[in-house]
């Protein structure tokens, strides 16, 4: 063999004679042409013919909250491909696999193209929009007539544009008389909202992404940034200060691997850890007295409270070595610019709000807020979770207002030119209370928009049972095959991201424009137009006459924001947003041209009436479902891969994305436990909790600690296992820890 190889390497190919016989050696031709690259006519670089457009536009990505901007390549006014926008301040020319494939997933055989109504035989059959809208109105009104206006509710989303969210919230509550509506943002961001509101006086993530680049110490709590927000990890990698990265996560992840310190604590013991570290910082006087005195309230009570968290207690409850905890405190002290970032590991917990506030407390007591490279920063989940937080009209009255506040109701009524009495005086029930309401027959009609509770809601088998008890379930979605759409009575086909326009607000409060660049399939309509249509059929169309287009609604939203911390009255229109690479709130009228990156609280003034931030603390509580001899493992759930998004309704539609994640559900198990259970990588296993069981393949890895298992959340079956416990303040479900057992499937 070796002689052949040597011959081959320096081989003068036989093309010398082949040259004269093109059929014998064909160096170029149609197949080569297929892959030839040519200089972009618009945009940059060499591009293949398939995505060579005649013009370009931009659009903010519709997957996660990072809010990357994409250059959409257009041919004859239709999107034919995309590439990451090079000069946008968020993504700087990069995108993750989901962004790259954002257009691909629009083109799927299971797109909902006509309204579907369940017929007498129990099958969903296509009907006209006229029938669909009439049925919606008749059935919902009939339920209201019989059981009161509050007997119908809606579940909104963080996936549609702000203008649509606002219209949905206003239509449902002011037009249709619903009282209860919540969003899937309850599952991801409710905790941050409550934590910020209580601590800062307004739901205000204070940071800008440049802070990742400017910190010298970065603390990541319950956040697998590499996988959940890869384009934010890009900003960490661009940090020129060789930052000390401290990752706090029970499990070893891509992010903890890249960190300088990994605190692999026991699940949900983070609250104790932060109180213990606060205690250490106070004991050693590593705190910023000046900042505390000038800008905060409640520090003395807090200092007294954390005395109950000596190192010994923290070591015992977290399972961490005392040196590791001291080193963490030391790092916070040594850092000149310490930033704290958290994601779902904190938000999805039975004591989530207090944990988030424990992080905020650390930032406040060390003066790490309001300066470049600092902050107590919640990284949001969905592309428009932040829009939902301000404008979904569920927990908050439109524009971050309060339903219970008469002045706020009057202001909103004025702006909208509606009768103030149509505005409810109380906030909606949270998601889990709506589900409970269905079970108690208080809610009988439900309208689900762009979310998939039959997959994503905690304790899935019960959740599906609850949804099946509804008299009328309407699902409005871009696919008719989501787990929830399949059990609906009426499916309304929605246009997707890319087929409609509006604005998203990203994690760093940046408002960006999503553009309409593609035709929706069949009779699918933009959610905006579905709402408008239903308003007319309902008979409240008059109320929304001014809401004639997303751009018109944006004007209304601006007015609603006036005088609020999120005031954006200074933004002219979508064109200005496109021009400036998005604008971060606040941007009140009369401001100077905004800087590309802006953070809050530079002046140390918070949004409480006294201008001070509050220290808030509370005794930690044990895990709602501790392990037992029958269920000896703690199950952790979380992100699996970058190529998967939530319940996979979209990401599973791309052939390339499908190649990038494990097809089958898998379970990470520590080698020690695997040996004890006599199972190896690749074995078919069954994981069960008190609520259900799932089957998957074992992956033996020390990335999970002994006594713990990990299953990614994207697989349909995962939530059969999860335990329905909730944070008492944010009502966010605690997906991250429940008791399970594991065994070989064949046993």
């Amino acid at each position: 063999m070796s002689t052949t190889q040597t011959n081959g390497a320096g081989m003068p190919p036989a093309r010398d004679f082949g040259r004269y016989i093109p059929l014998l050696l064909q160096r170029t031709g149609p197949l080569t042409e297929t892959l030839s690259l040519t200089p972009a006519e618009v945009g940059n670089g060499l591009l293949p013919q398939q995505i060579q457009g005649d013009s370009l536009t931009t659009s903010v990505c519709g997957f996660c909250s990072t809010g990357c901007n994409l250059n959409i390549h257009l041919r004859d006014q239709q999107a034919i491909g995309l590439s990451p926008a090079p000069d946008y301040p968020v993504n700087l020319g990069m995108a993750c696999p989901k962004g790259w494939e954002a257009l691909t997933v629009l083109d799927a055989p299971d797109r909902a193209t006509r309204p579907l109504l369940r017929n007498a035989a129990g099958k969903l059959e296509p009907v006209s929009w006229d029938v669909a809208a009439s049925t919606f109105t008749e059935r919902m009104k009939a339920i209201q007539r019989e059981h009161g206006p509050q007997s119908i509710a809606f579940l909104s989303t963080g996936q549609i544009v702000t203008e649509e969210m606002a219209l949905l919230g206003a239509l449902a509550k002011f037009g249709m008389g619903m009282l209860h509506g919540d969003g899937n943002t309850r599952q991801c961001m409710a905790t941050a909202v409550v934590a910020y509101k209580q601590a800062f006086g307004f739901d205000a993530p204070p940071y800008t992404y440049a802070d990742f680049e400017q910190s010298d110490t970065i603390v990541l709590v319950g956040s697998n940034l590499c996988i959940a927000h890869p384009i934010l990890w890009q900003r960490v990698m661009r940090n020129q200060f060789d930052p000390n990265i401290i990752a706090i996560d029970p499990r070893t992840t891509e992010t903890t691997m890249a960190a300088s310190q990994h605190l692999a604590l026991q699940p949900k013991s983070d609250l104790t850890l932060f109180y213990g570290v606060a205690n250490l910082l106070i004991e050693r006087d590593w705190i910023d007295h000046e900042f505390i005195d000038a800008h905060t309230k409640g520090f003395d009570e807090f200092a007294a409270f954390v005395q109950a968290f000596p190192l010994t207690r923290v070591v015992e409850e977290t399972g961490l070595a005392p040196e590791a905890i001291e080193q963490f405190a030391q790092s916070i002290h040594d850092g000149l610019r310490v930033s704290f970032w958290w994601t779902m590991g904190v938000n999805q917990s039975h004591q989530a709000v207090r944990t988030a506030q424990a992080i905020i407390n650390l930032a406040l007591m060390t003066g790490n807020i309001g300066r470049p490279g600092t902050g107590a920063n919640s990284i949001t989940g969905q592309c428009n979770a932040m829009g939902s937080r301000l404008f979904s009209n569920t927990t908050n009255l439109l524009g971050g207002h309060d339903f219970a506040n008469a002045e706020h109701r009057q202001k909103v009524a004025n702006v909208l030119a509606i009768d103030e009495s149509t505005i409810p005086q109380e906030a909606s029930w949270p998601y889990h209370r709506i589900m409970e309401g269905i079970l108690r027959r208080e809610i009988r009609g439900l309208w689900v928009v762009a979310t998939n509770p039959a997959h994503s809601w905690i304790n899935q088998e019960t959740a599906r049972d609850i949804l099946s008890r509804l008299d009328f379930l309407v699902v409005q979605d871009m696919y008719h095959t989501t787990e929830t759409a399949r059990i609906a009575d009426l499916v309304l086909p929605a246009a997707a991201w890319g087929e409609k326009e509006g604005t998203f607000i990203n994690s760093e409060r940046r408002i960006g424009v999503a553009s309409k660049v593609s035709r929706a399939p069949g009779e699918a309509l933009a959610d905006f137009h579905i709402f408008k249509l239903l308003a007319e059929y309902w008979g409240c169309g008059e109320m929304f006459r001014r809401w004639e287009s997303p751009a018109a609604v944006f004007e209304i939203l601006k007015q609603l924001s006036a005088g609020q911390p999120c005031d954006v009255t200074g933004i002219d229109d979508y064109e200005m947003l496109r021009d400036l690479g998005g604008v971060q709130w606040p941007y009140p009228a009369g401001s100077e041209e905004p800087a590309t990156e802006r953070r809050l609280f530079a002046d140390g003034r918070f949004f409480h009436s006294d201008g001070r931030a509050k220290f808030i603390c509370e005794e930690p509580r044990p895990l709602p479902e501790p392990t037992t001899s029958k269920y000896p493992f703690t199950l952790l759930t979380g992100r699996g891969s970058v190529a998967q998004w939530h319940t996979q309704t979209r990401t599973a539609k791309s052939a390339v994305l499908r190649k990038l994640y494990p097809e089958e559900l898998y379970v990470e198990i520590n080698p020690h436990d695997a040996a004890e259970q006599r199972l190896g990588s690749g074995d078919l296993v069954v994981v069960s909790s008190q609520r259900g069981a799932v089957q998957g393949r074992a992956l033996v890895t020390p990335a999970v600690q002994p006594g713990q298992l990990f299953i990614p959340m994207h697989y349909e079956a995962t939530n059969r296992l999860t335990h329905p416990s909730f944070d008492p303040y944010s009502h966010q479900p605690s997906y991250k820890a429940c008791a399970v057992r594991i065994e070989l499937a064949s046993r």
């Binding site: 892959l35 992010t255 702006v415």
Partner: protein
């Protein structure tokens, strides 16, 4: 309370309702007029990309003894896989086609766990197995850049490169009938633009470097490429993976424990088995001729020659089905100097020629007025010689891949014994055919004379072959997950039904039926009638089917070397 202006509410009264409103909204949904507005706006504003990623490219072209190579900083690779999708998009690949892969390695201990993603594409090797294997010279290694480029229009879709490359780099595109692969975005590099993967990595983990070929050789001598990856000595890959972290000794690919059946390549299965049957049949015929001197008057010799030729031609026809673009099969002569596949194709071509001549001679001898008899023996030997060479080339095709399951001894013994086994079985088929077509006393006597020999030879061959094949299962006893153990696991696991059928058919056709014929011959004195027809037919069919399944396992149970894969 701030006084807020109320928006003008009389802009569009449009109190459309019912179906008219639906129609209006549907029309609006399909209208793309807004696109025109903002796209024009953006066109005017389009400015050149601020980053050309030049820092990720070498400043100067490679000098003598140098070439371009990928360099991956594992400490910067976070497993986001943007490179895979960007490569797919920016190269205009088909729906599920990808040229770059990201694998995962896991290991370490509970106190120091390790997970490491690895992005890999073509390694643009110094001695590219794909290029050496290619029978049509569809690969070129650029003299200056060292980039291994595939000529798509030259490829005829034999897929041999996909077996030869230890890194699973060339990917077959069934729709086009050709293979395609990474060319390091050579057209981009030519204009100073970074390759798609390089420019799309958010963490700048992939860069293009100039490497010294001498250095690559030295590195291949001393260092492993990455844990549990193919030996770099096979092709001398140029990619370098750098990290500041020491790898724990137990760091292994996440898919390390996974054993999955490989592609069956059915046309190749049929082609290999039938060419070996044909070569074996001719050789057995010649041997019988030499041993017992087949009487010229019987019909056995021509029937056997024609049957052997028929199977040979069928095999060559089947091999065409394996080509994505069979109309370019003639290009296979180009690779004669380096490709065992070229050599095999040419050798089998010669074999087919000799065999046709031989069969014609045997058939025509005595039928025409020309004494062909003196030509028959030399022709016969030429058939045997070309056949042996061709089968040797077949063996080398697989040996070249340097897969352990396809070692010289494993493939050589297997293919040789298939020749012998099916050669004998084919002789039984010919005997049956001759006795039906032209029964004669002479023939009956002849059969009585040779049948014990043929039966004994078949039994010995079959037992040896089945034992040889079954020897793979001893690897199940070893703890280390070697490629041979994977093959054994596959045959005992996912492929166990086929394996069982293979051994059952082997025993039936190679042992039980010959024993039956042997006993009939000794007990009844001769073999006749229906029993004989059934026994010989079953013998042949079982042997042939058994060998086809053996060859199916030869492909499907061969653990392919690969770069670290992800969780599956």
């Amino acid at each position: 309370m701030i006084e807020l202006p109320v928006l003008n509410s009389n802009r569009s009264p449009s109190p459309l309702s019912g179906p008219a409103l639906v129609a209006q909204l549907l029309a609006e949904q399909q209208a793309m007029s807004a696109v025109e507005e903002f796209s024009r706006w953006h066109e005017l504003d389009a400015k050149p990309t601020s980053r050309q990623y030049r820092q990720l490219l070498p400043a100067t072209p490679p000098g003598p003894g140098e070439q371009y190579a990928f360099e991956v900083d594992l400490d910067r690779c976070s497993g986001c896989k943007a490179c895979v999708v960007a490569c797919h998009t920016l190269n205009g690949l088909d729906e599920s086609e990808t040229w770059r892969d990201v694998g995962l390695m896991v290991g370490g201990s509970t106190s120091a766990p390790v997970m490491q993603h690895v992005t890999t594409a073509c390694h643009h090797c110094l001695e590219p197995a794909c290029m050496i294997a290619c029978p049509v010279n569809a690969y070129e290694k650029d003299a200056v850049t060292g980039i291994v480029k595939h000529l798509d229009d030259q490829c005829f879709g034999c897929q041999y490169c996909t077996l030869a490359c230890p890194y699973e780099v060339p990917k077959y595109h069934a729709g086009l009938g050709i293979v395609r692969k990474c060319d390091m975005c050579s057209s981009r590099l030519a204009v100073g633009e970074a390759p798609a993967c390089v420019q799309s990595c958010p963490h700048e983990a992939i860069v293009i470097r100039t490497v010294n070929r001498r250095q690559v050789l030295e590195d291949a001598e001393t260092t492993a490429f990455l844990p549990a990856t193919p030996d770099p000595q096979i092709t001398l890959p140029t990619t370098s993976f750098k990290t500041k972290k020491p790898f724990p000794r137990n760091l292994l690919p996440a898919d390390y424990a996974r054993v999955s059946a490989q592609h069956a390549h059915w046309p190749l299965v049929v082609m290999l088995v039938l060419t070996q049957l044909s070569v074996g049949a001719f050789c057995v015929g010649l041997a019988l001729d030499a041993l017992v001197v087949l009487p010229g008057g019987t019909s056995l010799r021509p029937v056997h020659a024609v049957a052997a030729l028929g199977f040979g031609l069928l095999a060559l026809g089947s091999s065409l089905l394996h080509l994505g673009r069979p109309q370019f099969a003639f290009r296979a002569i180009l690779g004669l100097r380096h490709s065992w596949l070229s050599r095999e194709i040419v050798a089998f071509g010669l074999f087919a020629g000799c065999a046709s001549a031989y069969a014609a001679a045997v058939y025509l001898v005595g039928r025409i007025d020309f004494n062909l008899e003196p030509a028959i023996e030399p022709l016969g030997w030429s058939v045997a010689a070309t056949g042996a060479i061709a089968v040797f080339c077949s063996v080398m095709i697989y040996v070249f891949t340097q897969r352990e399951y396809w070692s010289f001894s494993r493939v050589g013994v297997r293919f040789t014994l298939t020749c012998a086994l099916l050669g004998i079985a084919a002789m039984w088929l010919s005997i049956l055919a001759a006795m039906i077509a032209a029964p004669s006393l002479q023939l009956t006597e002849l059969v009585a004379k040779v049948s014990p020999l043929l039966c004994q030879a078949l039994i010995v061959t079959a037992v040896v072959k089945l034992t040889w094949e079954a020897a793979i299962f001893r690897h199940l006893l070893f703890r280390r997950m070697t490629p041979l153990r994977r093959s054994a696991m596959l045959q005992a696991g996912d492929l166990s039904r086929v394996t069982l059928a293979r051994f059952a058919l082997g025993l039936l056709g190679g042992v039980m039926m010959p024993l039956f014929i042997l006993r009939q011959a000794t007990e009844a004195g001769n073999v006749t009638g229906v029993e004989f027809v059934a026994a010989t037919s079953l013998l042949f069919i079982a042997c042939l089917a058994g060998e086809l399944l053996e060859r199916y396992l030869f492909f499907t149970a061969c653990a392919a070397p690969r770069m670290p894969g992800g969780i599956r």
